[in-house]
Symmetry: C2
Subunit: 388 residues, 2 copies
C-alpha cells in the first residue's frame, strides 16, 4: 500500500515515480550521524521543529518557510490525571503554534519543499486547520493558495483563512466530496494539489512530534501516543519518527498508538475492531466535530493497522456529547482550552484507562491538537457554557 | 511615583508596606550569579519563561502555575522589513502562548504568587486578553476568577473566558469605569484585586521578554523595543529586564522604547510630545481597538517618560484605519495574523522609520502581542477582508 523506495526531498512528487504508490516515505542516511553528538548539538538550536534538520527534507536556508513552529510544551494533566489515577499523562500543547494547531508542522515542511521546487499555486481541501495553516505559510512563501472547504466549516475558520489573502471556495458538499472537487480543480488548472497523508511532507513533518516528545522526556519513548484521528496522518508520522529514533538507538521502542474517533464517524475503529484488512467508508458522517468527519480514510487504514499490530495500541470511540463535556472539564480543571477534536482524544484516553488497556503507571502523551478559539460559536455557544 | 524598596515575592502586597506607593518593583540579589555559567545552564532548561527562575519571584515548584508559556520565537519580518529598507525587524511572536497573547506571562507569575499566598478568589478588570489569560491560569491554579469586562469586549473573548469556568461581569461602561467597579467589588467582597502595572507580578513577568530577546539575539540588546500601549505595563517590564541584564554584564544597553497608541486614544503620546510631567486623561477614547482604549494610564506615564529620557525612544500614533490595513498586509505578506493592537505597533514602527527616528540598520523588535482569532467578527468582518 505504501511505497518505501528512497527518494530525495526535492524530487518528491505526488506519486512514487517507480511504483506509482500514492503514499511516499522519506529515507535518511543516518549512518553518519553520531547520536551523542547530535543530542548535544540540538540543545544549541532554537526550539523549533527545524532543530531536527538532519532528519527532515534537505532544504537550502532560503527555501525554509518558518514561523518558529514546533517544540511545543509537554504540559502535565494535573487534576484530570489524578482523577483518573494516572500520574504520567501529558498534553503536547500544539495550540502553541503559529496558527494555533499542529497542522503548522505540515505547512512549514510542505511549503518549504514547494518553494524550493518553484511551485506558485497550491490547492487543497480542508476542514479548517490545514487550510488556515497553509494559508499562513503560503502567504509567507509567496505561494498563492486556494482552499476548498466543505459546507460545515464555520465562518470563524473561513475568515481566518481569508485574513491571509487565500482564495476560499466553500462548497455545499461534505469533506470527502470536497476533496474530489479540489482534486478536479487542481488538475484542470494545472496547480499543485496537496494530498495530506499521501504527500511526502505530511508524514515527514508530523514525525517531528516524536522527536520532541522523546527529547522532552529525556530521550525515552512514552508508552502511549493518543490522538483524535480523521485520515490518521498524525500517528503515521509520529510512529515513523519513533522508528527513526529507534534506528538511531536514541529510544528503545515505538509507543503504542491510541486512535480515537467520534461515534458518528468511526470507520477506522470499526475496521480495526472487526480485524478487517480494508476499511469500509461511512457515507454520511454524523458528527459536529468536522476535523474528524472523514468518512473515507482510504489508504491510511492498512498503514495504521500494521502499526498497531507491530507496536501495540488500541482504537475507540466517544460521542460528541462526551467530547464537549470533556472540553469544559479540561478548560476548567487544567486551564487548557482545546478544540473538540482534542477533547475526543482526551475522552478516549479515559475510556482506554477505564477499559484497563492503558495502565495508570504508563506514560501517556495526548496530542492537544488545537484551540477552542476558532471553533464556531454555533457549536460551542454561550448557553452550553453557562449550563456547565 | 514608584517604590524601589526591596521586598520579597511572597510578602508582596498591592502597595508597599513602607511608603505605600502603588507601583512595586522586585529586587534580586544578583551578586552570587555567575553570568557565564548561568547562560550555559539556561540552555539545558525548557523553552519557557521560567528558565530565568533566578531573576523571577522565588517560588516552590508546587506553587508554579505553568502551561509552558514564554520563550516565543523571534520571527524576522521578511517582506515588510525589505519594503521599509530595514533588514533587522523581528516580530516577537507572543501569539504562540497558551491563550494566544503575551498576557500569559503576567498570568503565570501572578497566579503562581497568589497560589503560594493561599489566595482563593481573584477579581480583575480587563479588555479581553488579560481576562482570558487569568481565567486559564486561575483554573489551573484552582483559584476562582471573576473578570469584569467593559461593554465593548466582543462575545468571542467573553466566551473564551467562560470556557475556563470564570465568572464574567460585563458592564455598560468603558474600561476606565470598569476598573473602578472591579476595585469596589473586590474591596466589598474582600477578594484579591489584580492591578496590572501597579502589581508586583505585572512588571516582573513582562521583563522575561527582555531576557528572551537578549538570549535569542546571542546575548545582546536590540536597538528598539516597540509595542502598542495602553497602560504601558509591557515596556516598563521589558526595560526592567534589560536593566537587570545590564547589571549582570550580559548586554551593553537598554533598548530605546517605541510606544505606539491609536489616534483616538493617545494620552501618553500627547503628554510625551508636550514634554509634560503628568498625563492628562482622555475621557472618551475613540478607537475600536479596545486593548488600547485606556483613557487614563495614570501612574505609568512618569515611569515611561523617565525610561525614554534615560534610554531613548519615541512615541507616535496611528489611526485605526491604518492599523487594519497593516493587519491585512502583515497576514498577507508575512503569514502572521495579528490582533489590531499588534498592527498598531507595526504601523507605528513604519511611521518611526519614515520619520527617520529609527534607522534602517537598527535591530528592531516588535511585540506581536496577540492573534486575530479572538477578535470580533463585527470589527474584522468578511466584507472588509474581501475588499482587500
Amino acid at each position: 500500500m505504501s511505497c518505501d523506495r528512497p527518494i530525495t526531498a526535492l524530487s518528491s512528487l505526488p506519486t512514487c515515480p517507480h511504483c506509482h504508490s500514492s503514499v511516499l516515505k522519506g529515507h535518511y542516511d543516518l549512518s553518519g550521524l553520531d547520536r551523542h553528538q547530535w543530542i548535544q548539538t540540538l540543545r544549541q538550536r532554537p526550539p523549533s521543529l527545524w532543530r531536527y534538520q538532519e532528519l527532515l527534507p534537505a532544504l537550502k536556508p532560503q527555501h525554509r518557510v518558518t514561523l518558529g513552529e514546533g517544540y511545543t510544551p509537554l504540559v502535565p494533566a494535573l487534576r484530570l490525571g489524578a482523577a483518573w489515577g494516572a500520574n504520567h499523562v501529558y498534553l503536547k500543547d500544539e495550540r502553541q503554534n503559529p496558527t494555533g494547531s499542529f497542522k503548522d508542522r505540515q505547512a512549514t515542511v510542505a511549503l518549504s519543499i514547494l518553494k524550493a521546487r518553484g511551485v506558485q499555486r497550491l490547492v487543497l481541501a480542508s476542514t479548517g486547520n490545514v487550510g488556515i495553516a497553509y494559508a499562513a505559510y503560503g502567504s509567507r512563501a509567496g505561494i498563492a493558495t486556494t482552499i476548498f472547504f466543505p459546507q460545515d466549516v464555520p465562518p470563524e475558520k473561513v475568515r481566518e483563512t481569508q485574513v491571509y489573502g487565500s482564495t476560499v471556495v466553500q462548497l455545499p458538499k461534505n469533506y470527502d466530496e470536497t476533496k474530489v472537487a479540489a482534486a478536479q480543480f487542481a488538475q484542470a488548472e494545472g496547480w499543485f494539489l496537496d494530498q495530506g497523508v499521501k504527500g511526502f511532507a505530511g508524514v515527514e513533518s508530523m514525525k517531528t512530534m516524536a522527536f520532541e516528545i522523546a527529547e522532552q522526556l529525556g530521550w525515552r519513548s512514552p508508552d502511549w501516543y493518543i490522538q483524535g484521528v480523521s485520515g490518521g496522518l498524525g500517528p503515521i508520522g509520529v510512529a515513523k519518527g519513533f522508528e527513526e529514533l529507534l534506528a538511531l538507538g536514541l529510544v528503545d521502542k515505538v509507543p503504542a498508538l491510541g486512535l480515537i474517533q467520534t461515534a458518528g464517524c468511526d470507520p477506522l475503529v470499526q475496521a480495526w475492531k472487526a480485524g478487517a484488512a480494508e476499511v469500509t467508508a461511512i457515507d454520511h458522517p454524523k458528527t459536529t466535530i468536522l476535523p474528524l468527519a472523514t468518512g473515507n480514510p482510504g489508504v491510511s487504514y492498512p498503514i495504521l493497522k500494521a502499526l498497531l499490530d507491530r507496536h501495540g495500541g488500541a482504537m475507540t470511540t466517544v460521542t460528541d456529547e462526551v467530547a464537549f463535556d470533556t472540553l469544559r472539564r479540561v478548560a476548567g480543571q487544567e486551564g487548557i482550552s482545546v478544540e473538540p477534536a482534542t477533547a475526543v482524544a482526551i475522552a478516549g484516553t479515559l475510556d482506554l484507562i477505564d477499559q484497563g488497556i492503558i495502565a495508570p503507571h504508563e506514560t501517556v502523551i495526548i496530542n492537544c491538537s488545537g484551540h477552542t478559539y476558532p471553533v464556531s460559536q454555533a457549536i460551542l455557544d454561550r448557553r452550553q457554557l453557562k449550563a456547565n
